[in-house]
Amino acid sequence: MDLFNNLALGFGVAFTAQNLVYAFIGCVLGTLIGVLPGVGPIATIAMLLPATYALPPVAALIMLAGIYYGAQYGGSTTAILVNLPGESSSVVTVIDGYQMARKGRAGPALAAAGLGSFFAGCVGTLILAAFAGPLTEVAFKFGPAEYFSLMVLGLIGAVVLASGSLLKAIAMIILGLLLGLVGTDVNSGVARFSFDIPELTDGIGFITIAMGVFGYGEIISNLSQSEEHREVFTGKVKNLYPTAEDFKRMIPAVLRGTTIGAILGILPGGGALLASFSAYTLEKKTKLKPGEVPFGQGNIRGVAAPESANNAGAQTSFIPLLTLGIPPNAVMALMVGAMTIHNIQPGPQVMTSNPELFWGLIASMWIGNLMLIVLNLPLIGMWIKLLTVPYRWLFPSIVLFCAIGVYSTNNNTFDIWMVAIFGVIGYTFIKLGVEPAPLLLGFILGPMMEENLRRALLLSRGDWSVLVTRPLSAGLLAAALLLLIVVMLPTIKSKREEAFVED
C-alpha cells in the first residue's frame, strides 16, 4: 500500500527525538499564546513565526504545525471560557460553550472540544494522506486560467459565510488584492505604490497587516468597552471530565462534525469557518433527546460538533495548500509565508521533490494532535487560571508581543511604523463593521492572481473567454457563481444572519 508506505516514511521523519521536541514546543507555545484572549491562531502564528526562522525547514514546519494546532485549541479554550472567539471559526463554539462554562461545566466543554478535535484530527490526517497524491495529479493539469478561477472560487467561498454584509466582504477582498500588489512588479520591475520608500518596494509585510489589523485593532476595540462588557469568567470550574451521558450525546455529533469538516475543508476557501458553521447548523436541526439542554443554553453537542468540524477542516485544508500551493484561509496563507522563507515553494512539486518534508509534515500533524490532547486534558484547570489574569496586565503584554513579533521578522523598525498604521486601519474596520479576514486572504492571493491572469491572457492573446472555454476553469467559475447565488437567495440569507445571532 502506497498510503502506508508514505505514512511510514512520514512517521520516520517526524519521530526523531529532535522533531518530536519541536512539535511539543510548538504545541506548548501555540496553546500558551493562543489561549490569550483576543489572540487567535493568525496572530499566534504570526508572532511565533520568527521563532522558527533559525530551524531547518522540516523542523520549522513541524513546529509551525504544532503551533497551529496549539493555537487553535487555545483559541477554543478562550472562546469557551471568556466568550471571546479568537478567530472566526470558533464563533459558533462560543454560543453553547460559554453557556456551559457559566453553568460550571467548562471542564466537560473543554474536554468535548479537545476529544472531538483529536478524533477529527486523526480522520483528517488519514484523508490528507490518502487524497494528497491523486489531487496532486489533478494539480498538474492546472493551467494559469484554472489557477485564476480556483482562486476566485476560493475567495468567494471565503466570503459567503463571513458574518455581515456580502458586498463589504467582497470589497475587502479586493482591497486586500490591491494591497498585495504594493511593491515591485515581478514582470516589469516597476515599484508600484511604493512612494519611493525603499522598504515598500519589497511589498507590505503580511505580519504587519495581520498584527496591526487583528492584534492592535482588536485590543483598541476591547478597551473601548467598559469593564462589565468584557466580563471575564472567573468562577469555579466543577467536574473536569464529561459524564457517560455527555459522551453518549457527543459521539454522534463528533462523527457528523468530522464528516462535514473533512469534506468542506478540501474546498479552497471553505476551510474551518464554513465547516464549523455548517456542523452547528446541522446539529441544531436534529431532534433534541428528552432531558437534553436546548441549543444556545449549553448543549454539549453544540461544542463537540463545530469543534470537530473545525479541526477536520483545518487538517484537510492543508490539501489545497500542499497540492496546489493555494492557501485556503488566512492561517494557511501564513504557512505559505513560512514555507517561502525556508525556500520551499508550496505546490504539487513539494511532494515529488521533497517527500520527507511532505509526509513528515503530515505525520507531525497527527503527532501535534496527539500532543495537544495529552497536554491539555490534564491542564484544563491551569488554562482556566491563566484567564484570571486581569485584562489590564494582559493587553500591554499582547501589545508588546505584537511589537516584538513584528520587529523580529525583519529586524527593521520600518515594520513597526507600518504596524501602527495598520492598527489604526484595523480599528477603523471594526468601527465600520467590515470583517478583516477576507482582506488578509486577498492580500496573499493578489500577486498570485495577477501572475496567473497575466499568463492566461498571454497564452490566449488577450482573449478573456479563455477563463470560460477551458472546462476545468469554467467549472470552477460556475461553482463560484453558484455559491454567490445561493447566498443571495432570500431564505438562505436570513438563515445565515440567524445563525450568527445568539438566540
Partner: protein
C-alpha cells in the same frame, strides 16, 4: 437624503476613495493590453471594481432602511492614541531616532516604555503595578526571545554596549 446605515455609508466612502486612489495611481504606470499586461493593468482593473463596489455600498446605505441606523458610535480615542503611541515608542527605543540624534536605547527600555504607555490606555493605572509588569515582561522577553530563540535584538542602549 438621509443616511440609513452610517457604518455602510462610511465604509462605502472608504472603499470608493481607496479604489479611486489605486486606479489613479495605476494609470500612471504602463497599463498595456490584455495580451501584454503592464504593471498598471491589474491594479487599475481592481481599483475600478473597488470604487464601483464602494458606490454600490453607499447607494445601499442611503436606500435600504435599518432598524438602528447602524451608528458608527464614539471613537475610542484614548486607547487608540496610547496603544499606537506605545508601539511607536517601542520602535524608537529599539531603532533610535537619528533625526533628533537619539541613539537606540535597546529592548529593555523599549519594553518599559511600551508597557507604561500602553497601560495608560486602560481604565485604571497604577504605576507600581505597571513597573512590576514591565520588569516581568523584560525578564521573560529576554529569556524567551534573546536567550532561547536567539533573535538579534539590541538589548541595552548602544552607548553602554558600544
Amino acid at each position: 437624503m438621509k443616511i440609513k446605515s452610517q457604518k455602510d455609508f462610511y465604509s462605502g466612502l472608504m472603499f470608493t476613495a481607496v479604489g479611486v486612489a489605486f486606479a489613479w495611481g495605476a494609470s500612471t504606470y504602463s497599463v498595456g493590453t490584455g495580451a501584454r499586461m503592464g504593471p498598471g493593468y491589474f491594479p487599475l482593473m481592481l481599483g475600478i471594481v473597488l470604487a464601483a463596489l464602494g458606490s454600490l455600498i453607499i447607494f445601499k446605505s442611503l436606500t435600504v432602511p435599518t432598524e438602528t441606523g447602524d451608528k458608527v458610535g464614539k471613537w475610542a480615542w484614548k486607547p487608540l492614541f496610547y496603544i499606537i503611541m506605545a508601539n511607536l515608542l517601542f520602535g524608537v527605543m529599539i531603532g533610535g531616532l537619528p533625526s533628533i540624534g537619539l541613539p537606540p536605547m535597546g529592548m529593555i527600555a523599549g519594553i518599559f516604555a511600551l508597557t507604561i504607555v500602553a497601560s495608560l490606555a486602560g481604565d485604571t493605572f497604577k504605576l507600581k503595578e505597571v513597573l512590576i509588569l514591565s520588569a516581568i515582561l523584560s525578564v521573560g522577553s529576554y529569556l524567551a526571545f534573546v536567550k532561547l530563540l536567539a533573535l538579534q535584538f539590541p538589548v541595552w542602549p548602544t552607548f553602554i554596549t558600544g
